[in-house]
Symmetry: C2
Subunit: 335 residues, 2 copies
């Protein structure tokens, strides 16, 4: 087992997908221990430091990478398994940002109203009890929330020579902000350029479905990923798999078109795995599927479509790539 380390220093983070030289190069089957900054670049160090004053917009959401994967070529599917995602600091930060979030005017959803009050919430992170402390700012309401760490932003270099801001999810992955990207899950990303050029960041110690206020419990992370390559297996959009579900994603506006993309891909995937035609597969997904929102705040919105794996009667996605990566993760963890 080859284990790499990727720990960018200040100044080495990326704010785009595409157009960047790799920071490290790995082989399929390798493990990467990667540290990621929070979406504020670590600059929001107390509740009175407003993000809009201390973080330039174009330095929001830094990602670690790119990681070059040897042998990855356009038409392949990159499999990124989250072996572990652990908050790296004793706090996480959430906030309401000006002109951001689902329930206020934004650059893309233009309104004349004044921005909502910018407000920062500081959460104490306790790895021992695996909780984060919610403290209301304008009352005494307190609550311990269970941690459920995830990476909001994981993607590869886009197709066609495009360079995309880290804020925008699309076919290359990116800022999909789905809580499904948690420990134990495999994310499949369609490879667009030689080497795939994987980057990740935007850890959330936990986040609700839709990320309605625009931020999760933003947290620097110490993460471990296992990376594999599926030759010539590319779907058009990112997919996920955990022990219980296969999942498709769609990222665009309006939200119903993101929903449609995710559902159509899940139906096509189910058809591939079961041998059913598209309409029979449509029927099964219609009755057994789940469809949580991932984000309704980024420049593109993201929906997830989920199907329980037991309905596939033992069919294995990508020749059992998820199970193999689970095994790699166990081998790594039990070293």
């Amino acid at each position: 087992m080859v284990v790499h380390k990727l720990a960018p220093q200040p100044g080495e983070y990326s704010y785009v997908f595409g157009g960047r030289e790799p920071m490290i190069s790995i082989k399929p089957g390798d493990i990467v221990e990667v540290s990621t900054e929070d979406c504020f670049g670590g600059r929001v160090t107390s509740p009175d430091r407003l993000p809009s004053e201390v973080v330039p917009f174009n330095e929001m959401n830094p990602v670690s990478g790119p990681i070059q994967v040897e042998g990855a070529e356009p038409g392949d599917m990159l499999a990124v398994h989250f072996v572990s995602i652990v908050p790296a600091r004793k706090y996480a930060v959430s906030c309401v940002l000006p002109q951001f979030g689902a329930l206020t005017g934004t650059r893309e959803t233009a309104m004349l109203n004044e921005s909502l009050e910018e407000r920062v919430w500081f959460y104490d992170i306790d790895l021992e009890s695996w909780t984060a402390s919610f403290k209301a700012r304008n009352s005494d309401y307190r609550l311990q929330l269970p941690l459920d760490p995830m990476h909001g932003t994981v993607g590869v270099a886009p197709a066609g020579g495009e360079v995309r801001l880290v804020m925008t999810p699309s076919t290359h992955g990116g800022n999909m902000d789905t809580p499904e990207a948690r420990t134990g899950t495999t994310l499949y990303l369609p490879v667009n350029v030689a080497g795939a050029m994987l980057s990740l960041g935007d850890g959330h110690a936990r986040q609700g479905e839709g990320e309605v206020c625009g931020t999760g419990l933003e947290s620097a992370m110490n993460s471990v990923i296992a990376v594999d390559l599926i030759k010539e297996g590319a779907a058009a959009w990112p997919r996920l798999e955990n022990d219980d579900y296969i999942m498709s994603t769609g990222s665009t506006r309006p939200l119903e078109d993101a929903y449609r993309i995710s559902q159509k891909d899940l139906i096509a995937w189910t058809s591939d795995l079961t041998g059913m035609d598209m309409l029979d597969s449509y029927q099964l997904v219609s009755q057994m599927g789940l469809s949580p929102a991932a984000n309704v705040c980024d420049p593109n919105y993201t929906m997830v479509a989920k199907l329980p794996k037991w309905t596939l009667q033992g069919a294995q996605a990508y020749g059992g790539a998820h199970s193999r990566l689970r095994k790699t993760a166990e081998d790594y963890s039990s070293r």
Copy 2:
């Protein structure tokens, strides 16, 4: 305990909310045993009877009612608790209809493509094993699906003298098609006219989130509801509550505005219950909320926003109406 029966005969079903005389009148606290037809009015009796040929569009989705609730006035909230929902026939029907469903052109989402093939799936319903048999039409794929019965269409007379087709969900409830409207759940509907005029139908033996193909396992139902009234407690949109979650809904287009309605209402409700201001409540819902699609196929789409009740630290919605209705349901069931 007063128990009413409502068993409409052919010709007595309603196809609208509003503008109809009540079929029965009940008091808050009463129970109603209600039989409902399937969305095809029971006319699709074999897999080769195409719905478009045997069911006129304006006779789709019959509902039983209206039920007049004594003392209900505009500004109140009607609480409808699903005591039990049991399939009434040995089969349920699903289908792909011409110009209906999320993944094809429709009246509201106009496309030039030909319609998808109209196809009917017949499910055998087995109440003993509590399963429905999925049989692919174009292959040998077979699967037993667990039942999870729900009512797709439950609503009251709309405000402002409107009469709305049963197909369209809005502030009055109606065809929201959320799987959350299952046994053990309380649905809260804002009362718009004296007597509320509750109707329900469109039972699904089970249905995925979003009802992507446009139909669930359409089934006639023998259902039991317990009805209560919350005086002067009206929210603007339907809400739901089960033992674990409070839930808000929004029904409109585009889907992100349905999402916004549901989230804003859940945030306001959480603020009421916890005493937090709106931004602190926004923060809590952002981190702890779930947001499944309910339907992405009706003339208005529906999203659900869910918050785990443990985050409310014991605060009771509507003075504990859900718990009281649970008790009424137990009393009824143990007679």
